[in-house]
């Protein structure tokens, strides 16, 4: 046991919670119209409540419990039975098992919250709740086991995902695309761009995401050591490079640099460096940031418009595409000189790692897409995923929650 490591991972857990509320809540909340801002805040907030309980009751055991054929964790740790102050050497020897559990809980919380960006402004609250619980149980928990659980098949295969590029961002991003396609466009979308109602909220949220992400990435070292420092620095550099690159690209392409663009680019940089941060050096992290900003810009500002799907807040365009870029980039830029527990990537002579990363990516995309399709269909038949058109026009705040964010007349 090491008190420094324990203190850092506890602190990092709180930082990751900050990413969902208020970070992501305000990042997304500012992007919707004023009639729907409370629905976003509510969805983010209630996910924290629901998934925390799911994780304690059975989610943690499914993801990290004793391995069952590389596919899922056994339910030995249901209700956190046996998960206490004694470290679990399978994951780390220097912090209590319970600290590892609560750190991972915050990852399970933010992943379904990222998907909110795809169905924003048109999902029924009851259906959202059931979908989120099913998705976390049948998509997130198995994926976390495959990649991070001892005995999980992707981990055994040698897939590198330091802090969740595959588990968190690719899984939520591809599910977001499937949902956007199944749900259909918002009423009025395409006739005109839907304007964000409060960009200062969005920038505030993006800044809190950046801040909290140090817990997400550097905390994933599970120790207060040099590897954590490397993850902290590569995270920061990739984010700075991506924010600047996005602003420059749109300045050149559209004539104006926007704060929404700089903030979106920064988030894309955070996403892409997530799987790589503990395996790459700062110089290559900068390249990852620059590359992901260009690719995500093309995905969001050009391809999305041509294909015509309504991924309302670009959960797929930023997290799905950014996560995929980061996963592949890790297979390219990883080096053992940074992390002896990792491997070298293509750039350092190991082409095999690029193959492992690509295979993990493809399997994750297929698994998450199929499962999301099935869960959507089940919830849609039983409850109905989308609100009635009249309710969508009036807004989710009033029709789903009977409250309004702003008064116009005193």
């Amino acid at each position: 046991m090491n008190s420094g490591d324990t203190a850092w991972v506890l602190m990092a857990s709180a930082l990751v919670l900050l990413m969902t509320i208020p970070g992501l809540a305000f990042f997304y909340g500012g992007l919707v119209r004023r009639k729907n801002v409370l629905s976003i805040l509510m969805q983010c907030f209630i996910i924290v409540c629901v998934i925390s309980l799911q994780w304690m009751l059975f989610g943690y055991s499914l993801a990290f419990g004793p391995d069952f054929h590389g596919i899922i964790g056994k339910l030995d740790w249901i209700g956190l039975a046996g998960v206490g102050a004694t470290p679990n050497p399978d994951y780390t020897k220097t912090i209590p098992h319970s600290v590892f559990m609560i750190f991972q809980a915050m990852f399970a919380i933010i992943t379904p919250a990222l998907i909110i960006g795809a169905y924003a402004e048109r999902v029924k609250f009851s259906a959202f709740l059931v979908f989120t619980l099913l998705w976390t149980t049948f998509v997130y928990d198995p994926l976390a086991h495959w990649v991070w659980g001892v005995g999980g098949w992707m981990r055994t295969l040698g897939a590198l995902d330091f802090a969740g590029g595959i588990v968190v961002h690719v899984s939520s991003g591809i599910s977001a695309l499937v949902l956007a396609l199944l749900l259909g466009k918002r009423v009025g979308y395409n006739h005109r761009p839907i304007r964000p109602h409060n960009l200062p909220f969005t920038v505030l949220g993006a800044a809190l995401l950046w801040f909290g992400w140090f817990g997400f990435n550097a905390g994933s070292a599970l120790a207060a050591d040099g590897l954590a420092a490397n993850a902290f620095i590569t995270t920061h550099i990739a984010t700075a490079a991506a924010g600047l690159t996005w602003a420059l690209v749109e300045w050149w392409h559209n004539g104006s640099p926007t704060i929404l663009g700089a903030a979106t680019g920064a988030v894309a940089g955070l996403v892409a460096v997530t799987p790589a941060c503990g395996f790459v050096n700062p110089m290559n992290a900068m390249f990852i940031g620059m590359i992901v900003a260009v690719i995500c810009y093309i995905a969001v500002a050009i391809i999305k418009g041509k294909l015509g799907y309504d991924d309302s807040l670009d959960a797929f365009g930023v997290h799905g595409v950014g996560g995929a870029v980061g996963t592949i980039a890790t297979g390219f830029f990883a080096e053992k000189a940074i992390n002896a527990a990792g491997t070298d990537g293509l750039l350092f002579g190991n082409a095999h790692q690029l193959y492992v990363q690509s295979l993990s990516l493809i399997v994750t995309v297929a698994f998450a897409a199929i499962m999301t399709f099935v869960i959507f269909k089940i919830v849609d038949v039983i409850i109905g995923m989308r609100v009635e058109e009249h309710n969508e026009i009036v807004g989710l705040d009033l029709t789903q929650q009977s409250e309004a964010a702003y008064t116009v007349i005193e």
């Binding site: 005109r192 304007r195 926007t258 663009g261 418009g305």
Partner: protein, 113 residues
């Protein structure tokens, strides 16, 4: 009685108020409005989605006046809001059928000022 409706540039509100007060027109209702005239609006871009000609912020004044105040009111607004460029705004004058002061119940021209 007439109702004078003026749509002006927001930054000219203070100047217009000063000119109106100089001709003893002190009662008005002011609202923020959006609009566009011949100059059209400015382009807005959100993650690459362009909206050309978004509406511009304007200020609207509603002023009820008796007949002999109509010309001075129009002149005061014009003087305060004029720059000579596009976007200076418009003034509309419409007939006013009735005016009632709520506190006293007084009706007609006497209730206006």
């Amino acid at each position: 009685m007439k109702l004078v409706i003026a749509i002006i540039q927001p930054h000219k509100l203070e100047a217009v108020k000063r000119e109106l007060e100089a001709v003893d027109v002190n009662l008005m209702t002011v609202t923020n409005v959006l609009g566009q005239g011949r100059q059209k609006g400015l382009t807005e871009i959100y993650r690459g989605a362009k909206e050309a000609g978004g509406l511009l912020n304007k200020v609207r004044l509603d002023i009820a006046v008796n007949e002999d105040f109509v010309e001075p009111t129009i002149k005061a607004i014009t003087k305060g809001a004029h720059t000579g460029g596009v976007g200076d705004g418009k003034i509309f004058v419409v007939e006013l059928a009735e005016c009632i002061r709520i506190s006293s119940g007084e009706c007609g021209g006497g209730a206006i000022g």
